[in-house]
């Protein structure tokens, strides 16, 4: 601001007795509601720091409100509150099946119902498999339920498959590092041809790395 000094006739190190009053009076009623697009942009920007898996750049200027993304962000925040319980075992397991990681799954507020479950990553004959067991099947609405592995900050995700009942087992693609994508997430998806995460997570939990411990599940035989 080039005209600062000129405009600000009263030096700030000498506020004068009535500077507070004068500023308050001059400012008048300060509150001014921002236009609606500001809130839309905040939502979009907060969301765009979340998953950008669809090839969209993490743009600072979203094309418009993307409400579908919001629940995913919300889910990310809630997911952080879930208490991770699972530990898995390395020793004392059968030779052909090893639990390498597991998680307890908890429902997210969007699910509307308390659904819990467990997730395990097991290796069976050298192949890694993600095994899910839910207490009940989440409501898929008019669409279907898709299983994902997410980074903890939801900065990236890998699709694993579709779950249609309360149990499912998926082969994990080679090269997917479960310690990088430890969050098991089940989302409600629309049959709209869009392969990206629809933003409506219903169940989530974080896999913890296998390590033998007193609270680990019993060895599998």
């Amino acid at each position: 601001m080039t005209d600062d000094r000129a405009a600000d006739r009263r030096p700030t190190d000498d506020p004068g007795p009535d500077r507070v009053e004068a500023l308050l009076r001059r400012a008048g009623s300060v509150e001014s509601a921002p236009p609606d697009h500001v809130w839309a942009s905040i939502r979009a920007e907060v969301d765009s720091s979340v998953p950008e898996i669809s090839g969209e750049p993490a743009s600072l200027r979203p094309r418009g409100p993307r409400p579908a993304r919001w629940p995913l962000l919300a889910a990310a925040a809630v997911g952080a509150l879930v208490a991770w319980v699972g530990t898995a075992v390395l020793g004392g397991v059968s030779e052909d099946e090893v639990v390498v990681a597991d998680a307890t799954l908890e429902d997210l507020p969007e699910a509307g119902a308390a659904i819990e479950g467990t997730a395990e990553v097991v290796t069976v004959d050298g192949e890694r498999r993600l095994r899910l067991q839910l207490a009940e099947r989440p409501d898929a609405g008019e669409g279907y339920l898709e299983v994902w592995l997410l980074r903890p900050d939801v900065s990236g995700m890998v699709t694993v498959g579709v779950i249609s009942g309360t149990e499912a087992e998926f082969a994990l693609p080679d090269g997917v590092d479960v310690s990088e994508y430890p969050v098991v997430d089940i989302s409600r998806e629309q049959l709209d041809g869009d392969p990206t995460h629809g933003g409506r997570s219903v169940v989530r939990g974080e896999l913890s790395e296998a390590s033998a411990g007193p609270h680990g599940p019993p060895p599998r035989d």
């Binding site: 601001m1 700030t12 500077r19 507070v20 500023l23 001014s32 907060v46 919300a74 809630v78």
Partner: protein, 180 residues
């Protein structure tokens, strides 16, 4: 959630700390007007939108750094507003392009950087002090009510209103006079 829905600032602050999932919207509804209004006076109406957006985005990203022990959420947000505006003005100052000057002329010319900075300091402190002091000061100097009218409006003894006015003004004057 029902607690926070009552609109009580303290309840909103607790929900904020807990990271409840719709709390950003609540916080926005409660304080966006103040943040935007202060930004307007500092950077003009157009850029005020950008500043408001930046304030709430950084508040959300940095929400774990908010400590309710250190003060009310409103004061914390005005603090973020002050820093965001300062950053904004720094960037603007670095740009000497004519476009920037044109943007500047849209700012109410009477509001110098020093004035808007002081205004932010005042509002940050008012949020920190809270009611009824904050209300009293605003009624007196923004709505131009007499001390007696304020006493009636807030159902407080006249003496209390006068004491609050004088003490709060003294505190604000000290803030503007010192540490700068």
């Amino acid at each position: 959630m029902t607690e926070a829905a009552s609109g009580d600032d303290h309840a909103i602050a607790l929900a904020w700390v807990d990271g409840e999932h719709d709390v950003l919207e609540q916080v926005y509804r409660r304080w966006a007007g103040l943040v935007h209004g202060l930004a307007r006076r500092a950077v003009g109406p157009d850029e005020a939108d950008d500043v408001t957006q930046a304030v709430f985005v950084s508040a959300w990203k940095g929400r774990t750094t908010y400590d309710p022990e250190l003060g009310p959420l409103g004061a914390w947000l005005v603090g973020i507003t002050r820093r965001t505006i300062a950053d904004h003005l720094r960037v603007r100052q670095r740009q000497t392009a004519p476009a920037t000057l044109a943007a500047q002329t849209r700012v109410d010319d009477a509001w110098s950087q020093a004035d808007s900075a002081d205004l932010l300091t005042i509002y940050e402190e008012l949020e920190r002090i809270g009611d009824p002091q904050r209300r009293i000061i605003l009624l007196a100097y923004v709505e131009d009510l007499t001390q007696r009218e304020i006493a009636e409006r807030l159902d407080l003894p006249l003496g209390t209103v006068k004491t609050h006015t004088n003490r709060t003004l003294a505190r604000l004057r000290t803030l503007l006079g010192g540490a700068r």
